[in-house]
């Protein structure tokens, strides 16, 4: 391999490890009690980074990793120390991250001060630690749990000395069975952790009946299960998967070619009548869909990829302001198209920075008003049929309508009569260009990234941004991004010779004119008892009516004909071409001009 390739591999692998490391550190924050397997995972990753860095001659990066590794060993032996060390570890990891960036750009090592600080911090620990390599190795060996049986017990939450119950259980089990490992271990129990669960790994298949009798014998414990150990943890799963590195461009090329193929296929498929659909064509279609499915999965990455940066950002911003803020991440295993995640990174960073800066109160204030001293920002990833949503919620002071109005007036952003503004319209003023306060500019070091740009990015992706806020309670910002690369089933109808598409998920039914009573004056059509609002009531020549549902109501649109029903790819209408909010996306079929897709939510 060429030296440059090693370099590239080294950089990208360290970065992969850093992503996982941040994810694990984040778990520590969430769980409160440290899972042995998290520490082990971190330990292993620092160990790997150290090895790679030293091989590449990056001795100082290696030294950083080495110190972190030793720090972890100490934490493993003294689980409670994790909280005092967490920050030091994060700083160390940040430094590694920054130095890898430097190394990539050819800038020499720049984190000597961090190195000496951490070194100083860990110095005292080192003496106590007296790290024994054999000990570490035995830990490594111990953790290979494959082929073992996992016995799972719960400890009664009301138990006053849960650690002792777990300890008694461990003793009881080890008298009868060969215990290879347990979580928590005896040592951890003696350090005073309060276990909720205890998992014991034994060599031979245990007798469940006997395990059940331990409930009575020991008391305050409950037998949950006993089964052959299999890896459930996602991270462990990943470790077993083999990866191959492919430049993203190649995947793009593949999906673009598939896009073209899909257009062609749809056209061909549509040209066939039902009789000519022989089994071979059906098989072909089935296989085709499968390939598309796989191709889509090639493009996605877990949302957790973006999380580390956000955590670091939260903590750094909070620290610089003397605040205590925790970032809680929910459902970050959601797979999201890489291009979506990439484009949302900056906007999310800005939103979070804002939340820490403006939303979360000072420590003193939080105490005074009876809030937890640690402010909380939650980031939640979710998806439904149409959208990926990312919700950022803080438990801070919320937005003051009056203040927003004042700022907007001062900056001359208001041309409307203030009294006419509705509550949510006032909140939306923060998205107006020029609204951002001076402080924001300072904070983002003049990058000029404001909420207006956040909204633009989201709009450019065909999405939407919503804001809600309650004074004293907090603010919630929701980014809604439509799947850009998802296949969608649509119905294409013709109105006055023009084609329009409707997402099939919104289409309730298609009615013939003869089956309904139409009241053009009253702008509705009636089917049985049901009255449905007719949108294009002026178009009296319509032959069919597409009835769509959204937001719990129905609307009908009169059309001349239905020309296509099937799966196709949606493309976003570029922002500059957007003339109204009813149309966010379009479909492209070969040989015809793009067909706009109605955003039915906006029609109702």
């Amino acid at each position: 391999m060429h030296e440059n390739e090693y370099r590239y591999l080294f950089i990208s692998e360290v970065r992969d490890h850093l992503v996982e490391i941040f994810a694990q550190i984040n778990k520590i924050q969430e769980v409160g009690v440290i899972d042995d397997s998290i520490l082990f995972d971190l330990f292993r990753r620092f160990h790997t980074i150290k090895g790679m860095a030293n091989t590449m001659g990056q001795l100082k990066i290696g030294e950083l990793a080495h110190m972190l590794e030793e720090g972890l060993e100490y934490i493993r032996k003294n689980p409670h120390s994790i909280f005092s060390f967490r920050e030091a570890i994060i700083r160390g990891v940040n430094a590694i991250s920054a130095e890898i960036d430097n190394y990539e750009k050819g800038i020499p090592f720049n984190s000597d001060s961090v190195l000496s600080e951490i070194s100083h911090l860990f110095h005292g620990i080192k003496a106590k630690l007296d790290l024994d390599i054999r000990d570490v190795e035995s830990v490594l060996q111990k953790k290979d749990l494959s082929g073992l049986f996992e016995i799972h017990f719960e400890v009664d939450v009301n138990s006053r000395l849960p650690a002792v119950r777990a300890f008694m259980l461990l003793r009881e089990v080890s008298e009868r069975l060969t215990v290879v490992h347990s979580n928590p271990s005896c040592e951890m129990l003696k350090k005073g952790i309060r276990p909720k669960d205890i998992k014991i790994y034994v060599k031979d298949k245990p007798d469940s009946e006997w395990l059940k009798t331990l409930e009575g014998k020991i008391g305050e414990i409950r037998f949950v299960s006993s089964e052959l150990f299999h890896v459930k943890d996602e991270n462990k799963m990943k470790r077993m998967v083999k990866f191959i590195r492919v430049p993203f461009e190649r995947i793009e090329e593949l999906t673009t070619s598939l896009d073209e193929l899909v257009l062609f296929w749809n056209k061909y498929r549509y040209s066939l009548d039902e009789e000519s659909l022989n089994p071979n064509i059906q098989r072909l279609e089935y296989g085709f869909k499968k390939v598309l499915n796989y191709a889509e999965r090639l493009r996605t990455v877990p949302a957790s990829n973006i999380v580390p940066k956000l955590i670091v950002l939260t903590e750094n911003t909070a620290r610089s302001l003397g605040k205590n803020v925790r970032l809680v991440v929910q459902n970050d295993s959601l797979e999201i198209d890489k291009s979506i995640i990439d484009r949302l990174e900056e906007p999310l960073m800005h939103i979070i920075r804002n939340a820490v800066y403006h939303g979360i109160e000072d420590k003193e204030e939080r105490i005074r008003i009876g809030k937890d001293i640690v402010g909380e920002i939650t980031i939640l990833f979710k998806e439904d049929d149409e959208y990926i949503s990312i919700v950022v919620r803080d438990d801070g002071r919320g937005m003051n309508r009056e203040k927003i109005l004042n700022i907007a007036m001062e900056k001359g952003l208001l041309d409307k009569d203030v009294a006419q503004l509705k509550d949510d319209e006032i909140l939306e003023l923060v998205f107006v260009p020029g609204f951002s306060t001076l402080k924001d500019v300072d904070m983002t070091s003049g990058r000029g990234f404001g909420m207006d740009i956040v909204r633009n990015v989201v709009w450019q992706m065909g999405g939407d941004i919503k804001i809600s806020s309650k004074e004293g309670v907090g603010t919630e910002i929701t980014l809604q991004i439509p799947y850009q690369f998802g296949l969608k089933k649509v119905v294409v109808g013709v109105i006055r010779g023009f084609k329009y598409a409707f997402p099939i998920s919104n289409v309730r039914y298609i009615l013939k004119k003869s089956d309904v009573y139409i009241n053009y004056e009253g702008k509705f059509l009636q089917k049985g008892e049901e009255k449905i609002r007719l949108l294009n009531y002026r178009y009296t020549e319509a032959v069919f009516f597409i009835v769509c549902s959204a937001n719990n109501s129905l609307v009908a649109i009169g059309i001349d004909d239905v020309v296509f029903v099937g799966e196709t790819r949606l493309y976003k209408v570029p922002y500059i071409l957007k003339s109204n909010k009813f149309i966010n996306s379009m479909i492209v079929m070969q040989g015809i001009c793009p067909i706009p897709v109605f955003s039915v939510e906006h029609l109702t």
């Binding site: 006053r160 000395l161 650690a163 002792v164 300890f167 008694m168 003793r171 003696k190 014998k217 008391g219």
Partner: protein, 120 residues
Amino acid sequence: MPKRVLIVDDAVFMRGLIRDAFSSPDFEVVGEASNGIEGVEKFKELKPDIIIMDIVMPFKSGIEATREIRQLSGSVIIIMCSALGQETLVMEAIEAGANDFIVKPFKKDEVITVVSKFIK
């Protein structure tokens, strides 16, 4: 026949409380001791079925006493009497041979519940 109980605790108050807990025809408190050394002596002398043993006591701790008594008898039921926050000591006591523990402050029936686990 009632089970014979020995109470080992340096606090008179605690001994009284434990004695009260055993005021049932199924049990008979046959003796009391106020430290570990005395506890071991009383055990040899009285051969009780059950010992309620404090952990922290002068001259000889409950853990030491438990270790010695366990060597003399495999069948005597030893219940440690612990305070909150003494997890590590209780674990040591269990390693030394104690059967179970109760946590101060306790209700009378808790003592009987724990002891009953070991009486067939």
